[in-house]
């Protein structure tokens, strides 16, 4: 008898569900709670849905009890109760009102079981309560939850939430959530048409799926047609967005390659020294960053921590530059004109530098934190750009410009160009060529160290950090054309972009292999790179 009553209650509740205000009266709620005590899972799920639309103050308690397995039906009178185990017996409280209901041993209680589908349903409903949270972030999250799993049962709540919502960002999410819920069933033809209009202006892949389903399955011809054209518009936009995204990723990868290679463009490109320890200069820069970071943590107040990168840049330049000068004076200067020997000797130095770092800092990755101003993301014409990518792109551009300006306008830059172009003439003019060699090599190494500061933000800081960049850097310099700074820029950017455009079709590793093969083939055609030097400097 009580079961029939309960079923009736659910029926009544369902009839009034769309009209139910945020705080429905206790009777309807009690009826819905009683409806949970049914044999079939679908009917139980129905009762859960009803509870969701009622929005009663105790809904959360009851649903959580159901999900946790502490909701019971007392066998003698089929009252739905929440049980808490104390000793051998359960102390009970009425599920609908929360009033104490004595205690009973487990034998007198029948557990109301939730299956996985119901659990998901309960999660959705509980999540939707956040639509009315005082925290805007929570409200957006709740709206996103509806968006990711739209369901007709959410319509009433989303509408209610929209009534009181003032925050524009939240309103936008809520409107989309409402449109998605309406399209998932429950909306009238006009409402569905409007919903297609609303969602047609979005680019989210999940919503695209919803519109696709609408275009295929909706009962109304007009809605189907609207959905089909909305789908086409979305796809067009997605193609552009995709290209934009690839372009930005490519530029960002290109900037990383550029930073790694730009020092090599000086040592290899300008001086003709094959420095296989170039990667280790980058690694030294990254470890300098780590040390500066630790010093900031230990000795300076936390609010200055964000500045550690600014300090790390000149430090890394000095450290790597000093090591570079020492290398040039002690080994490389004896090997000018013997490139293959230089290659082997610098490789040896790279092994020693790696082992030195491994012995003093350990072989494992060291953690270098992104300062607060580098984390986060921003939205640009529908593209999501993470701040650290943008910072690295800007930083790479700044380094190249500074270097070009130094070589072009400073007295030291003039000396460097003079020595590389005509050594004996420069010496005759009184330029100390030996010192210029050392400083040029130091400059290239120092810039590699600066690159290390930037790379410490995007990759793991470990003794073998530099190894990963060495082949790439040489490829960039050779591809761009030895001796040309702009060639290096163009080379790095084109390799980065080509890589990112290949990736979606072939996967990251294969893209990299393809790029290497392309370069190897390219060098056949233009052995001296994209921007080859012409005239008397070639040999």
């Amino acid at each position: 008898m009580s079961r029939i009553l309960a079923a009736l209650g659910v029926l009544v509740a369902l009839m009034f569900a769309p009209l139910a205000p945020a705080h429905a009266d206790d009777a309807a709620f009690a009826a819905a709670v009683a409806g949970l005590d049914q044999k079939s899972f679908p009917k139980r799920a129905e009762a859960v849905a009803t509870l969701g639309t009622l929005g009663h103050a105790r809904t959360e308690t009851v649903l959580r009890a159901l999900a946790d397995g502490t909701l019971f039906a007392r066998k003698e009178d089929r009252q739905v109760v929440i049980g808490r185990l104390s000793g051998d017996a359960y102390s009970l409280s009425d599920a609908a009102t929360g009033a104490p209901a004595g205690s009973a041993p487990s034998g007198e209680l029948a557990k109301i079981i939730a299956n996985n589908q119901m659990r998901g349903q309960i999660q959705d409903i509980l999540g939707r309560f956040l639509l009315f949270s005082t925290d805007a972030e929570d409200r957006i999250r709740a709206a996103d939850q509806v968006l990711s799993n739209p369901d007709a049962s959410a319509v009433a709540q989303v509408r209610n939430a929209l009534k009181t919502e003032n925050e524009p960002a939240v309103r936008q999410r809520l409107e989309r959530a409402l449109a998605a819920a309406l399209l998932s069933g429950g909306g009238t033809t006009e409402e569905r048409l409007a919903a297609v209009q609303t969602l047609g202006n979005t680019n989210e892949p999940a919503l695209r799926g919803l519109i696709q389903r609408t275009a295929a399955n909706d009962a109304d011809d007009a809605v189907r047609a609207a959905a089909t054209s909305a789908l086409a518009a979305i796809d067009r936009r997605l193609v552009f967005l995709d290209m934009g995204q690839n372009l930005v990723f490519g530029l960002s990868l290109g900037s990383v390659l550029l930073l790694a290679a730009i020092g090599l463009a000086i040592t290899f490109g300008v001086m003709g020294v094959i420095n296989m320890a170039h990667g280790e200069m980058i690694m030294l820069g990254a470890y300098t960053t780590f040390v500066v970071q630790q010093a900031f943590r230990a000795y300076l107040p936390p609010d200055l921590f964000g500045l550690y990168l600014v300090v790390a840049v000149p430090m890394a330049f000095v450290v790597a530059g000093a090591v570079g000068v020492a290398m040039e004076r002690s080994v490389i200067r004896f090997l000018y004109g013997r490139p293959l020997e230089t290659l082997l000797a610098t490789w040896g130095i790279s092994l020693m530098l790696q082992q030195a770092i491994r012995s003093s800092f350990g072989a494992t990755n060291r953690e270098v934190a992104n300062p607060a101003w580098m984390s986060g993301a921003m939205d640009f014409l529908g593209l999501t750009l993470t701040t650290n990518r943008i910072v690295i792109i800007i930083f790479a551009a700044a380094v190249v410009l500074a270097l070009a300006a130094f070589l072009r306008w400073s007295a030291m830059g003039l000396n460097m160009r003079a020595v590389t172009q005509n050594r004996s003439m420069a010496a005759a003019m009184g330029i100390p060529t030996g010192r210029v060699d050392a400083l040029t090599f130091g400059l290239g190494s120092g810039i590699a160290g600066v690159a290390g500061v930037a790379l410490s933000q995007v990759s793991n800081v470990s003794p073998s950090l530099g190894q990963g960049y060495i082949v790439d850097s040489f490829m960039v310099v050779v591809f761009g054309g030895v001796g040309s700074l702009w060639g290096t820029v163009v080379g790095a950017m084109s390799l980065g972009i080509v890589n990112k455009f290949l990736e979606p079709y072939s996967g990251a590793v294969l893209a990299k292999i393809l790029v290497l093969v392309i370069i190897i083939l390219f060098i056949q055609k233009r052995p001296r790179g994209l921007f080859a030097l012409r005239g008397r400097f070639v040999e």
């Binding site: 094959i274 296989m276 080994v331 004896f334 090997l335 004109g337 013997r338 490139p339 293959l340 020997e341 230089t342 290659l343 082997l344 000797a345 490789w347 040896g348 130095i349 790279s350 092994l351 020693m352 790696q354 082992q355 030195a356 491994r358 012995s359 190894q467 060495i470 082949v471 040489f474 490829m475 050779v478 590793v509 294969l510 990299k512 292999i513 290497l516 093969v517 370069i519 190897i520 083939l521 060098i523 056949q524 055609k525 052995p527």
Partner: protein, 380 residues
């Protein structure tokens, strides 16, 4: 006596043949006998693990010899020789993989374990034929040779020389490493090929097989040495030397620089392939890290330490550097990279002719009346 026999005999001086024979007899006959005949507690007993280690080193020596043929004589520093070595190794590994048959973890007679694990339905076409030892042996030579031929043809034809060639050979082996790391390639991905059971029906864990493989390596190394000696002593060998010292001049005289380099590069890659094929059964595994550029650069230092351009110097260099490596990685692992790195620097700065150069310099000091040998060119 035919002309070919005469030329063969002329490969070495009388003393040279005597030394070669003595070394060969010691390595191929005495070492195995000392292992088999003497009881384990005897002072001169060579333990089996030592024979195996020596076999491994001799494979490295063969690789260094291959590099010397192209670097020491043609002036082409290939930093991708590890790739040819690894390809030869993979060919032999594939044969031994097929020999496992039903004895794998999954007991699948048709597919190697890793393919079963990846849910592959059938054997990819490039695994066909590797059930046969002779096919695998052919591939161990042919695949590296073909790759070297195509790569070398592209590179030498467009006159890529010096460090540019070094860099693109490095890029080649790096690309191959990335490729072999992929599971989709069908070569076992990250783990490579391992768990081998037997070769030509002989169990790999048996001492007899280990010694047999060692002796095979000694013979192969000796043959490779003689072949290299033959090439170097021929007219082509002199052209190679000329290319090393003045490439443009050789071209202007009318010789085919591309052809000469390509021949030497291809032969060198084939020798490297054989070395790899002998290496894998002795160490029991082949994985993509053999392709890493660092491995290939290490080969260059073996050759440089021994003395490049001498053929036997690199063999000496490979044995001594790897001996030192075994010693250091056991006794003081953190010192090893300092030692190896220092070796690179010291050899290039102070010992351009390696150990062999050091020895001949010492001889010259003792007997100052001997004519001074020709000065080594500097642009190699």
């Amino acid at each position: 006596m035919g002309p070919i026999t005469r030329r063969l005999i002329a490969l070495e001086s009388k003393r040279g043949w005597a030394v070669l024979l003595a070394v060969f007899a010691f390595a191929a006959v005495a070492v195995p006998l000392l292992n088999v005949l003497l009881p384990p507690d005897h002072a001169l007993h060579v333990p089996t693990y030592m024979v195996q280690l020596l076999g491994k080193f001799l494979c490295y020596a063969m690789l260094a010899l291959a590099l010397d043929l192209i670097w020491g004589f043609a002036g082409v520093l290939s930093l991708g020789h590890g790739a040819f070595f690894a390809l030869g190794g993979y060919a032999m590994g594939m044969y031994m993989m097929r020999q496992i048959g039903e004895r794998g973890v999954y007991g699948n007679a048709d597919l190697p374990d890793f393919m079963v694990f990846l849910n592959w339905g059938e054997l990819p076409w490039y695994w066909w034929g590797f059930d046969s030892f002779w096919f695998a042996a052919l591939m161990a030579v042919a695949v590296p040779g073909l790759l070297a031929f195509v790569f070398g043809w592209l590179a030498f034809r467009s006159r890529i020389t010096g460090v540019y060639l070094s860099i693109i050979t490095q890029a080649m082996t790096y690309a191959l490493m990335l490729a072999f790391f992929r599971n989709e390639m069908g070569f076992g991905g990250n783990n490579g090929l391992t768990d081998f059971k037997d070769i030509l029906g002989y169990s790999l864990s048996a001492d007899g097989t280990k010694i047999g493989l060692y002796v095979a390596t000694v013979i192969a190394l000796t043959l490779a040495y003689l072949v290299s000696r033959f090439i170097v002593g021929s007219r082509l060998g002199r052209i190679l030397l000329a290319v090393r010292d003045a490439e443009s001049r050789v071209r202007f005289i009318g010789h085919s620089v591309t052809g000469a380099k390509l021949f030497a590069f291809t032969v060198s890659a084939m020798i490297a392939g054989v070395a790899g094929a002998l290496y894998v059964p002795q160490v029991g595994i082949i994985n993509p890290s053999e392709f890493s550029p660092a491995q290939s650069i290490e080969v260059a230092i073996w050759a440089a330490v021994g003395g490049r351009g001498t053929l036997f110097g690199p063999i000496l260099g490979a044995l001594s550097v790897n001996g030192a490596k075994s010693f250091f990685t056991g006794a003081a692992p953190e010192v090893w990279l300092f030692f190896l790195g220092g070796l690179f620097v010291v050899v290039t700065l102070f010992l351009p002719k390696g150990l062999v150069g050091l020895a001949s310099a010492a001889r010259r000091l003792k007997r100052p009346t001997l004519p001074v040998t020709k000065e080594e060119p500097r642009n190699a």
